[in-house]
């Protein structure tokens, strides 16, 4: 049922729209919201309350309260009062068992009220503990909001967009528009954000304001103001970062200046029955009449503490609503106010002990400035006792407030914290079903601070984010504690200022992944890709990593080691620079030779390891671990920012692909593909040579992490597939096969090679990691020298040792080493070596156990197993194969 066309209506009666509510078709017009269409169709109950399942109806009709939250096209908790209606949209109630009108869970209201004070669940459902999962399942179904469809969690696409403007204006009312126009006319770029469907704010509520609103809109457009609406500024972060939710777009706006013109929020009054269906705020009644041409009720009682409530009477009169009583609280507050309902809908109101029949109550406390964004930005918010409002003060630089948010709310009365003689079911917090009784109960239990009470009772923590309950709850606290509102203070304002979906914050799914230039070849070859740091690398190429490892011993394997960090260190002082960073020496490294290096921090901790090759007098080529590349680059450049040595450091990790060709047939393959002499005499172990491999300029390093004759080829990454393919083709007869990370881990463990951060931790130093040979105590200074000397002086406590499992039991990596029944170290690496036919590993053990043949215990599957210490490599201890 609609009224005849109203002067301000925003519906287009020539465009009918049909949608579905709880399975039945509902008619609407373009310009309707789902809420207005449902109200026009006669619906009054829009939701069931969070805890007691009390029927709730339209209260604010401006998207602030939680009373109209429904599930729309599968998306829960949509505020239908501001959700534009769309053809065919499917709408349903939520948090009910049955329907909105017949919710079987309403029994909780009858039973629950007296039984569910704050903390009831915590206190009651704690025993017996084992039943909690059952309790939880039941409680989750009884209390709460709408249900997410797990299958459709990402039902809508969300994009994120960055914007930079001179000015963001939050609020499209008169003050906001004027501020925006003024800035734009000065030549500033201006973005105006308005949460409502229309620009104009309070102008739209007055018949004489509509033309003024239109004029402002036109001027804003002419001045070049960019307007976003409906859109919500969800926070105000450091240096004026304003995230704006605009449909399925999240805008991250940086502004030089933010003008907050967020206006005020109308406040409810606290009295018995104030949550009944039909009790609403003045703006809701006005909008129903003016915007959607709906008669909100037949007989109305108006209780107003300010001009807004009085203004609403004009709209109601225009709609033909009978005004039974209009009470202006400024003329005196009714001592015994109470509303009663039938089936949850208001049917009579008692004023001064006399009941009057009505089906509509318009209530209006003193409207509160929307200071949340200002408070987030660091403004102080203080209570003005005369007007009963919280006003912003001490705005931070770059943030301004204009309009009613500054406290220009007109003449108001300060409502009593509770109106009415009975304290029962006077709702302070509608979202969380918290009454004055609950707050008093919490205060009596000692939660007298508003911050504590908030956490205990959850008052202000519901979907309205405190818009309608923050000030009323502060008033109750002040009165109950016998102090003023400023002493109680406000709770901390936190983003988001308005509920938004997590999907909007998450944005589009994206997970940065580093791929080597051979990534797709690994996939082509059946490589099982795994994460290693930011990289994806092949774990192995089949089901049998052990066999894949053995094949390297037998014939020939290729592994992509492009992920290794690669740094160039060049300059007259390059050698001296490396000498100061590493425990060992590099200034005496001959051109074309390679030396292993371990980096330590000044605390003596091992931070990374790798090889250092000297390319010419001035240039060193340093490799790091795959995950250490950025860290080592920053480490080097930091030290040089301190030292200022004549050296350049360049990170060329991505520029180069690297492939390790390993196995007894490696030389034969290289002979056919490499343009230099690769004989053992010409190209010895730990030599670095410039050459061409498969026609590609290459730096070949003769090193062997996996313990076999090996050449590590470093060449431009765009040639990755060309070189790799050529190696596999030409090596086919030699048994060339790719091997992955897991086989490599087996092979290196057979050699007892350490993986930094696998076999070392934040306590590891070079001495206790069994690398004393790398520590050159005769060097005057290097990073980590002093701390390493201290370890030497205090004596070794721990030692990283190899071990074998005599009976083949396999400890877990990270498993505790047990000596004499006490924890004494841990296992760092374990693998079964098919080549050796043994379970081998590395462990950190007490230093006195670091002798070949000594034993220690490890728990394996609940049994204590004995492990035997093995010093030195398990495989090819002399390195004959490596140097062959």
């Amino acid at each position: 049922m609609r009224l005849p066309p109203q002067p301000l209506e925003r519906i287009d009666r020539s465009q009918p729209i049909t949608f579905t509510f709880e399975g039945k078709p509902v008619g609407a017009f373009a310009g309707d919201t789902i809420g207005s269409a449902l109200y026009a169709a006669g619906r009054r109950v829009f939701s069931r309350s969070f805890k007691y399942h009390r029927p709730r109806g339209l209260q604010c009709c401006s998207g602030h309260c939680a009373n109209c939250q429904m599930t729309v096209d599968g998306i829960p908790n949509v505020r239908v009062c501001i959700e534009p209606v769309r053809e065919g949209v499917v709408v349903g109630g939520q948090n009910t068992l049955g329907s909105l009108d017949h919710d079987l869970l309403r029994v909780t209201d009858k039973l629950g009220g007296p039984f569910t004070p704050p903390g009831f669940y915590y206190k009651t459902f704690i025993r017996p503990r084992r039943l909690w999962p059952l309790y939880e399942k039941v409680l989750r179904n009884v209390a709460g909001l709408g249900k997410l469809d797990p299958a459709g969690a990402r039902s809508q696409r969300v994009d994120v967009e960055h914007r930079h403007v001179d000015v963001v204006v939050v609020g499209g009312g008169r003050s906001g528009l004027e501020a925006a126009i003024e800035a734009a006319e000065r030549g500033e770029s201006v973005l105006l954000v308005e949460e409502g469907l229309d620009l104009g704010g309070s102008l739209l509520a007055r018949s004489d304001g509509i033309e003024a609103a239109h004029a402002l809109r036109r001027r804003a457009a002419d001045a070049g103001v960019e307007v976003l609406h409906p859109a919500v500024a969800i926070g105000l972060f450091e240096q004026n970062l304003v995230p704006v939710a605009c449909g399925n777009l999240l805008l991250k706006v940086r502004a030089r200046r933010v003008v907050v013109a967020a206006g005020v929020t109308e406040q409810p009054l606290v009295f018995p029955g104030n949550d009944l269906v039909g009790v609403m705020l003045p703006g809701a009644a006005t909008r129903l009449v003016n915007a959607w041409s709906i008669k909100p009720g037949e007989r109305a009682v108006v209780l107003a503490a300010d001009d807004r409530g009085v203004a609403a009477t004009e709209a109601l009169e225009a709609a033909g609503v009978e005004l039974v009583r209009v009470v202006d609280l400024r003329d005196g507050q009714p001592p015994n106010l109470e509303a009663q309902g039938r089936r949850g809908r208001v049917c009579q109101v008692s004023l001064d002990g006399r009941w009057v029949k009505c089906d509509l109550v318009v209530m209006s406390g003193s409207p509160q400035p929307n200071t949340k964004l200002l408070a987030q930005a660091g403004a102080r918010v203080e209570y003005d006792a005369a007007r009963g409002i919280f006003v912003p003060a001490d705005l931070p630089a770059g943030v301004e407030a204009v309009g009613s948010v500054t406290g220009e709310v007109g003449a108001t009365a300060v409502p009593e914290p509770v109106l009415g003689y009975r304290g029962d079911k006077c709702f302070v917090c509608f979202c969380e079903d918290q009454t004055t009784k609950d707050l008093k109960y919490a205060i009596a239990e000692g939660f007298d601070s508003i911050e504590l009470s908030k956490r205990y009772t959850t008052v202000t923590m519901g979907p309205c984010q405190g818009r309608l309950c923050h000030v009323p709850s502060i008033r109750v606290h002040a009165k109950q504690n016998g102090v003023d509102e400023n002493t109680i203070g406000t709770t901390t304002a936190r983003p988001p200022a308005t509920p938004i979906s997590l999907g909007l914050l998450a944005g589009r799914p994206q997970e940065p992944v580093k791929r080597t230039s051979l990534h797709h070849r690994h996939e082509d070859l059946g490589g099982r890709m795994m994460w290693t740091g930011a990289w994806k690398r092949p774990h192995s190429y089949g089901d049998d990593p052990a066999e894949e490892a053995q094949h390297v011993h037998r014939a020939l394997g290729l592994i992509d080691v492009s992920t290794l960090g690669k740094l160039l260190v060049a300059g007259p002082e390059a050698g001296a620079f490396l000498d100061r960073l590493y425990p060992n020496r590099f200034s005496d490294l001959k051109v074309g030779r390679i030396r292993y290096g371990v980096l330590t921090t000044d605390s003596g901790r091992i931070m990374d390891d790798g090889t250092v090759a000297r390319l010419d007098d001035l240039t060193y080529y340093v490799t790091t671990t795959s995950t250490g590349a950025d860290g080592v680059y920053q480490w080097f450049t930091w030290w040089n920012a301190v030292w200022g040595m004549d050296v350049e450091i360049a990170n060329v990790t991505g520029a180069l692909a690297a492939v390790n060709v390993a196995g007894p047939n490696a030389r034969t393959l290289m002979e056919g593909l490499c343009d230099v002499d690769v004989s053992n005499e010409a190209f010895a172990y730990l030599d670095a040579k410039h050459c061409r491999v498969a026609g590609v300029p290459t730096l070949a390093l003769r090193i062997g992490f996996v313990g076999e004759l090996g050449y590590e080829l470093h060449f431009p990454s765009p040639h990755g597939e060309h070189v790799w393919d050529t190696l596999l083709e030409r090596g086919a007869d030699l048994g060339a096969r790719p091997f992955g990370l897991e086989p490599q881990r087996i092979l290196r463990l057979e050699k007892g090679h350490v993986i930094v951060s696998q076999d070392t931790d934040s306590e590891s130093n070079v001495l206790e990691a069994a690398m004393p040979w790398i520590f050159k105590a005769d060097k005057p200074d290097f990073v980590g020298k002093w701390a390493t000397e201290q370890v030497s002086e205090r004596g070794l406590r721990w030692m990283l040792v190899g071990f074998e499992s005599p009976n083949g039991a396999m400890p877990l990596e990270g498993g505790q080493v047990v000596v004499g029944g006490r924890s004494a170290g841990r296992v760092t690496s374990v693998r079964r070596s098919a080549e050796l036919g043994k379970v081998i590993g590395l462990a950190i053990v007490p230093a006195e156990l670091a002798e070949h043949g000594s034993s220690f215990q490890v728990q394996v599957d609940g049994r204590v197993e004995s492990m035997t210490v093995h010093l030195g490599p398990f495989f090819d201890p002399e390195g004959a194969r490596l140097k062959a």
């Binding site: 960055h162 994206q510 940065p512 597939e721």
Partner: protein, 199 residues
């Protein structure tokens, strides 16, 4: 082979050794037609590119020669080359292959590293290119570097295109993100001949 840093230069490989961009597989998946140009497999055209370019086209320009120059100093005089100083210490120089010798000669007093292989280059072009860029990064003055879809990259304005210069190991990732973001704008992959680009 001569210089100690020759192994950084894909341009020094023999002609038979073809160079591939880190985005090559993405181009192939998009149905690209490739041509070998200057030793590189270059995606010259892609089905649907005209429709994409009416909104925003994304092309793989990774084959452009890139040099890192230390210290930055003055830009070389080479028409069409692009000079991008990162600090007083470092600059990037993008140039045509035929210019390379001349550019290197002009930079003979400085340390020059061939970083052609280190970076992927995604070119965005079309009326929605600024929108796409805003959906990828907060960067808005060009040239400048910073966070682009959660990885560090540099954005240069090379009218009528924008170039996103990113570590090649992130190239594939960033391409996928850019194409995903371009979709709702009506954009998508295009070949390098569809845009006005350095050859």
């Amino acid at each position: 082979m001569s210089g100690a840093l020759d192994f950084l230069s894909p341009g020094l490989a023999e002609p038979a050794a073809v160079a591939r961009s880190s985005l090559e597989r993405c181009q192939r998946d998009a149905g690209a037609t490739f041509e070998e140009r200057g030793g590189w497999l270059v995606p010259v055209s892609i089905p649907g590119e005209d429709a994409h370019l009416a909104h925003v086209g994304i092309a793989d320009l990774s084959h452009v020669t890139k040099l890192e120059v230390r210290p930055a100093g003055d830009a070389p005089e080479a028409p069409g080359s692009v000079w991008y100083p990162l600090s007083r210490r470092r600059a990037l120089c993008f140039c045509h292959v035929p210019q390379l010798a001349e550019v290197r000669a002009q930079l003979a007093d400085r340390l020059v590293l061939d970083v052609t292989a280190a970076y992927a280059v995604l070119a965005l072009q079309g009326p929605e290119a600024p929108t796409l860029l805003r959906r990828l990064t907060h960067l808005h003055h060009f040239p400048s570097g910073g966070d682009v879809a959660h990885v560090t990259a540099h954005v240069l304005e090379q009218a009528p295109s924008y170039w996103i210069v990113v570590a090649q190991e992130y190239g594939h990732y960033l391409w996928e993100v850019a194409v995903d973001r371009a979709g709702p704008l009506g954009g998508g992959p295009v070949g390098v001949d569809a845009i006005g680009a350095l050859r």
